[in-house]
Symmetry: C2
């Protein structure tokens, strides 16, 4: 009887809880960027904040949906915009050009990621002592770069991101925990890059982990990665397992 | 008020729940073995069953404690005895001799593991459709061999176990999910063995995963692995993370 009443009350509360979302314009070095904020306004006080960094297609419905999922978990989530307002690739050709621009200018990439983190940190309902960043593909690379920039946050999670670094010595700047979630059969993850990443983490005594999901290739969390072939494909099991691994990581750091 | 009452009730229930334990003698091909059962007798109906396979030191307090932890999670846990009743190594020399005996006779190792699984399956409070096996070091190797024997169970979890196989073609027999949890700096995990294991899983389309914990060496879950040096040492973070990974795995398969 007690249990029934409580369950009913919880259900009502859940129904009343609404996820608030809004676009936020901000700038980095004079360039206008447009991110997306999501949070549950029924939760009191300051909440942990999670930055979400987009895949190579730019900030799409996909990342916004992840931010809403994070809001449902009780976090304040902010999708960074790395490319710039209205810089939304129409096809894989434009996506490739933009991703390459930032992957070959890691200083700019780090600056854009930090600009997004600053917006998140400044939200009135965010606890600035409890921050993390997650990213997908290109965004997975970006959040590791955010860590390499020495950003002050609890941890970063890379979902099928490239782990390569043109400046492995920057591993010494990493202050946060690092979790990499990878497809065991991802053809875009070069063994040499992986070995270099592991050495970078090890040499700099980073608190790091990596999980490999058998049968998963690149973009395993994304129903629409821009292209689908044998090398990039959604994998429901790996999607769910990696999301759970992220939740466990957050439970540890927040 | 409702919440307070419910929490109080839960506390009382927890206090009343007691973990029952007992030794069980059984045989394999005429050899007497002595295992250890643990379960929560306050739980109704049939429960998922988890086999626990010991490290090279044989069935010790360590594995019994893990079985009790599993019982507290609501599972019926049974520690297998691979070596035989009273075969309890006094030192690392005896442990090495016994572990080597079984690691070089995988047919016998599989038979002993299956004998333990049979005992677990036959417990009146075990759901025979919901079985898993976990193992530590030598036991981690053993549970993978159990899978390679074609045993009918939902999944196996190897904690810092050797993943090598003298008969990689036996990967075709694996019917269950496989989760390997490894120290990223384990000097006993040879890169060639790891690569062969991955190929075995991949070639046979096994549902497999592997997680590596940075900074962790061999025996990272064990405060007393028989010896402690730079290559084998307890690591609290990796211990907790791997236990959580196991719980997530069980949540998926049970």
């Amino acid at each position: 009887m007690l249990i029934s009443s409580l369950l009913l009350m919880t259900t009502i509360l859940s129904t009343h809880a609404t996820i608030q979302t809004k676009s936020i314009e901000y700038t980095q070095d004079g360039v206008t960027l447009e991110g997306y904020l999501a949070y549950d306004d029924s939760l009191p006080g300051k909440r942990p904040g999670v930055l979400v960094v987009h895949q190579w297609l730019g900030l799409t419905h996909y990342e916004k949906h992840r931010a809403e999922m994070l809001a449902q978990l009780g976090y304040v989530a902010f999708c960074a915009d790395i490319y710039g307002k209205n810089q939304r690739p129409k096809d894989v050709s434009e996506a490739g050009a933009l991703a390459t621009k930032f992957k070959t200018d890691r200083t700019l990439l780090r600056a854009r990621a930090n600009a997004g983190l600053d917006v998140l940190r400044q939200q009135p309902n965010v606890d600035p002592q409890k921050l993390a960043a997650i990213g997908y593909c290109f965004g997975g690379t970006t959040v590791i770069e955010l860590a390499r920039s020495g950003a002050d946050l609890g941890g970063v999670v890379s979902f099928h991101g490239g782990l390569d670094s043109p400046t492995p010595a920057d591993g010494k700047n990493i202050k946060c925990k690092v979790l990499a979630l990878a497809g065991a059969d991802d053809p875009f993850q070069k063994p040499d890059d992986l070995a270099a990443f592991e050495s970078e983490m090890r040499d700099n005594k980073v608190d790091w982990q990596i999980a490999f999901y058998g049968g998963a290739v690149h973009a395993f969390t994304q129903p629409n990665p821009g292209f689908v072939n044998a090398g990039a494909k959604y994998n429901e099991k790996a999607d769910k397992r990696s999301w759970q691994a992220m939740k466990d990581f957050f439970a540890e750091i927040f």
